[in-house]
Symmetry: C2
Subunit: 150 residues, 2 copies
DNA sequence: TGAATGAACATAGCAAGCTATATAAGGCGC
DNA sequence: GCGCCTTATATAGCTTGCTATGTTCATTCA
């Protein structure tokens, strides 16, 4: 519905992002996991321990956003923060065994949502939509760099 | 950066949506307008008065989200709510003259951000990315309908 | 070595999105 | 006309995202 209206790329991207998050949150809720925690799961699963800084880079979000997400995950018993022996400013973050157990189900759920989103696209279209989104991201990131026209 | 990593469609869509919102918010901040208010501006500019329900349908967001956005816009003098003479449950919402004046600038700013996002795409690619996003949205919406496999 | 600069993380405060639920009015059936 | 269902809006409570700023430690350089 309403897809016939003339909608900008920005509107469509925002809409799709909200639908992704909703679908993922609904599936992950029984696991006690939510959409904002996905990059942390993917970065840390398998027993890896990373600094907050590394997680920020991986997730491409701002540092305070990651700090808040990690605080919630710590509260919920999904991660542990322990001091970084190499840098006393920093912290090493790793999944708890309970979270590690759920990591596979998290991956399954997100794969299912991605598959549903791409179900109406052919194989080359699935590749292409990712490529086009990546180019849009590049264009948007160029807006913030000093050498951009703005 | 990091675009070389293998990222899912969902991740890329979320990332692009955040970059859109950030770029738009930065440009609209001097006008006292923010990204969540865009659909309200577009739906009401030109002197139209709509119910909250119509705005919810137009923006494709949940009703409480729209209610909160309207409360902020009312607080900031961008809209007025007045009783709907045809339905005493409801409200008619319209832009204030001050907001109406800003509507053209809002459109200019959002067009600029969209253009920047699409700058790296050819004309057919710009059409195609919208079409592919629309199909992804359809696929995601099908997840919530009862006749879907889930 | 000591001061300045920078980097890592935390905190405050806000917008925008969601679900769940309450309230009030319209509409319908009988 | 009255009870019942539906529809319109509001409220509460939460997550995720942002900017701005503070604190603490590391690094650099004079």
């Amino acid at each position: 519905m309403s897809l016939d209206r003339d909608r900008s790329a920005g509107y469509l991207v925002n809409w799709a992002a909200r639908l992704f998050a909703r679908a993922i949150d609904r599936r992950l809720k029984p696991l006690g996991v939510s959409s904002g925690q996905l990059p942390v799961f993917f970065a840390l699963s398998g027993g890896r321990a990373l600094t907050q800084r590394a997680l920020v880079d991986f997730a491409a979000i701002e540092q305070p956003t990651m700090a808040a997400t990690l605080t919630r995950m710590e509260r919920d018993g999904l991660i542990v923060r322990r001091p970084n022996p190499d840098d006393r400013r920093g912290v090493l973050i790793s999944l708890t065994p309970e979270a590690e157990v759920r990591a596979a189900e998290v991956r399954t759920a997100t794969d299912a949502v991605n598959a549903a989103a791409l179900a109406g696209l052919g194989p080359e279209e699935q590749v292409q939509v990712r490529a086009l989104l990546a180019r849009m991201i590049s264009g948007l990131e160029a807006l913030d760099t000093p050498d951009a026209a703005g």
